[in-house]
């Protein structure tokens, strides 16, 4: 089953660092995530679309297209807007 890893303040909002999901595309995974943890929805989505500066990676590669497939061993990581030097 694919795993979703959460970072920074997303952990507090979801109450966990990682979850297992069943859905098959990134977009569907996000929807499943938000349905399970509504507080995440406010931070990640705006009117159903991905908020600016949310970074999603699929096995370490930036995932911009929400239709990309997510497979068995995949890890989806979600970072809220973060910054540093």
């Amino acid at each position: 089953m694919p795993i979703v890893k959460l970072y920074a303040n997303l952990r507090k909002l979801a109450g966990t660092k990682e979850l297992i999901v069943t859905e098959s595309t990134i977009g569907a995974v996000l929807n499943e995530l938000v349905k399970q943890n509504p507080p995440l929805g406010d931070v990640i989505l705006e009117n159903g679309k991905l908020r600016q500066h949310i970074v999603i990676t699929l096995n370490g590669h930036n995932a911009v297209d929400l239709n990309v497939e997510v497979n068995e061993q995949d890890i989806v990581a979600i970072f809220p807007p973060i910054a540093g030097g």
């Binding site: 920074a8 500066h53 990676t57």
Partner: protein
């Protein structure tokens, strides 16, 4: 003229005398202040015949017209000198409160020349400049000294060196306000070579603002923008810069064990999330800053400022260490000894790899958190193995026959971002005028975080345009002088307008970034005059030839050659990376 104090304080340590004179406003219009002004003055003062640790080298402290105006983050200041670590032009930049007070004392520039016969410290109270004997203070560590000399954040500010600078460690920093650092490139050693222990300032002046109405509007807009950006209003205050640890690891661009890998299995254990959960006391900020990215951390053994992402990485992933309390303590120790954390950590990592391979006779090994503190003490006091490490990883590697194990560019240790996972960052390290540094055009914004928009970090064609723009923009911001984190919520065009509102001189956005381009080209000319060539625009062989064998960056090396070719052409330089006469004339640098 508004903004600038228009006064230079010129100090001669040979005779313990000083003079003041007007600032050249022609030069200031073109270079503004901070890094730009410092570079221009250094060009005139220190040539290739001068050794960085000789009395003929100078320390040039500079403010900018925005300093102490109260604009957000208008607290930063620069020091410019020839670097004892790299031999290039060096500017180092720090926050806190000292820069603000130095401006209130009535000066834009302070030049420190020569060498005092005996240890000395300088006290500046506007027009009253006093030289004090520092024989009793020599040997003191930064925290104790700062307190002894009467540090009060808003009223009286101490800038000083610790034992590392006194012992001329080429990776020694100058510290201000106890735990802020002019860290990279060894400015602490230059100050130590002059027998100058500290500079304390108190000031009374206010910075004049030409158009207070417009200034007020821009202040309000900036406040709104910083509050609206989740980067500056949530991420940085809550997690600090260490929040980058997990994302850099996730994408396979976190240099590990002296850049042998690009991911660290212990990244979570040394992440911003872990720091916030277990060791954070509260956040803190520099003068006039609403962001508050500073950490105040506490372990069983110590409590103090930091650590930042780079410092945590340098003693963490780079040394294969996942013991966060030990890392926090190592960071504080560097502040107390006056050492650059990035260079110290990466030099220790280099020594670890060399020792594991039998090239260096020491018991340093990756993962040994217990070795951090004693090794740092040894470095600062040039004792035992510390004597070999005190001058950075390149001199260490060269001495024992393996310079290729120094993860440096032009002799300066590179920071956390492994460029095999970020092509643009690789070009940045190779071309940065002060050596392997991320703060002179950081590509983490566009290549990782999507600031302002995401670009493909593995794309090579066209990447140099971004690096050039970010280098120019950073140089402009370093000349104002304000904090680059403001740039995360506020676009360059605001800074141009603030500069215009404060000084009364109309700078449009393009012109302000051109100041940055001018500064960049001047610094380049300085290095060329010192004897650097395009051969020095390079990276360690490991990054050019050894691809990571797993992780998201698997199979990638830095494709430096095509990026560098495109970069030189895009900058208007010839194929040897020399600015053409036309380019110099366009920038008003024809006289050089």
């Amino acid at each position: 003229m508004a903004g600038w104090s228009e006064k230079v304080l010129d100090i001669d340590l040979n005779n313990k005398t000083y003079r003041t004179y007007p600032l050249d406003m022609e030069i200031s219009r073109l270079f503004i202040g901070g890094r730009g002004l410092g570079a221009r003055l250094l060009w005139d003062m220190v040539g290739p015949e001068v050794d960085a640790l000789a009395p003929e080298n100078v320390l040039i402290f500079t403010n900018g017209p925005l300093t102490a105006t109260g604009y957000q983050t208008s607290n930063r200041f620069s020091v410019t000198t020839k670097s004892p670590l790299t031999g290039t032009v060096l500017d180092a930049n720090s926050g806190g409160f000292w820069g603000m007070q130095f401006k209130k004392a009535g000066y834009d520039v302070m030049i420190v020349r020569g060498k005092s016969e005996k240890p000395v410290w300088i006290e500046i109270k506007n027009d009253v400049i006093a030289f004090h004997d520092a024989s009793e203070l020599w040997g003191m560590r930064v925290f104790a000294l700062t307190e002894k000399l009467g540090q009060n954040n808003n009223k009286r500010n101490v800038l000083c060196i610790g034992p590392a600078g006194e012992n001329l460690s080429r990776i020694a920093s100058i510290m201000n306000d106890r735990e802020r650092a002019l860290a990279r490139g060894g400015p602490g050693a230059v100050m130590g070579s002059k027998n100058l222990k500290a500079i304390v300032v108190e000031g009374k002046d206010r910075t004049e603002i030409n158009d207070p109405e417009q200034f007020k509007f821009l202040l309000y807009e900036t406040r709104k923008l910083l509050a609206a950006s989740p980067l500056t209003s949530q991420a940085l205050p809550e997690f600090g810069t260490v929040v980058l640890m997990n994302i850099m690891n996730n994408i396979g661009a976190l240099a590990t064990r002296n850049h042998q890998q690009t991911q660290f299995e212990g990244a979570e254990a040394i992440s911003g999330e872990e720091l916030t959960e277990k060791y954070l006391v509260k956040n803190s900020s520099c003068w006039a800053c609403p962001i508050g990215c500073t950490r105040i951390s506490k372990t069983d053994k110590a409590e103090g400022e930091g650590p930042e992402f780079e410092s945590t990485w340098a003693f963490g992933a780079q040394c294969g260490i996942d013991d966060l309390p030990a890392i926090i303590e190592a960071n504080m120790l560097c502040n107390d000894l006056g050492l650059d954390t990035i260079s110290a950590g990466s030099t220790i990592a280099c020594a670890m790899e060399m020792s594991e391979n039998g090239y260096l006779d020491s018991d340093l090994r990756f993962g040994r958190a217990d070795q951090l503190a004693p090794t740092l003490e040894a470095i600062a006091h040039r004792k035992d193995v510390g004597a070999d490490l005190a001058d950075g990883s390149l001199r260490l590697g060269t001495k024992y026959g393996h310079p290729e194990l120094s993860m440096s560019a032009k002799g300066m240790e590179m920071p956390a971002y492994d460029p095999r996972g970020m092509q643009g960052q690789g070009l940045l390290y190779a071309t940065s005028n002060r050596g392997g540094c991320h703060m002179r055009g950081n590509m983490v914004g566009p290549e990782v975080l999507g600031l302002p928009k995401l670009i493909d970090r593995f794309q090579v064609q066209g990447k140099s345009s971004f690096v050039t723009l970010h280098q120019n923009s950073s140089a402009a911001i370093d000349s104002l002088v304000i904090c680059k984190f403001t740039n995360m919520g506020v676009a360059d065009e605001y800074f141009a307008r603030v500069l215009s509102a404060v000084t009364g001189i109309q700078y449009d956005t393009g012109e302000m970034i051109r100041v940055g381009e001018r500064v960049w080209n001047l610094e380049r000319m300085y290095n060329l005059r010192e004897g650097f060539t395009s051969k020095d625009d390079t990276l360690p062989p490991r990054l050019l030839n050894d691809a990571p064998t797993d992780g998201p960056s698997k199979g990638w090396v830095v494709k430096l050659e095509p990026m560098l070719k495109e970069y030189y052409r895009g900058r208007g330089w010839d194929e040897n990376g020399v600015p053409t006469p036309k380019k110099l004339a366009d920038l008003g640098l024809a006289g050089l």
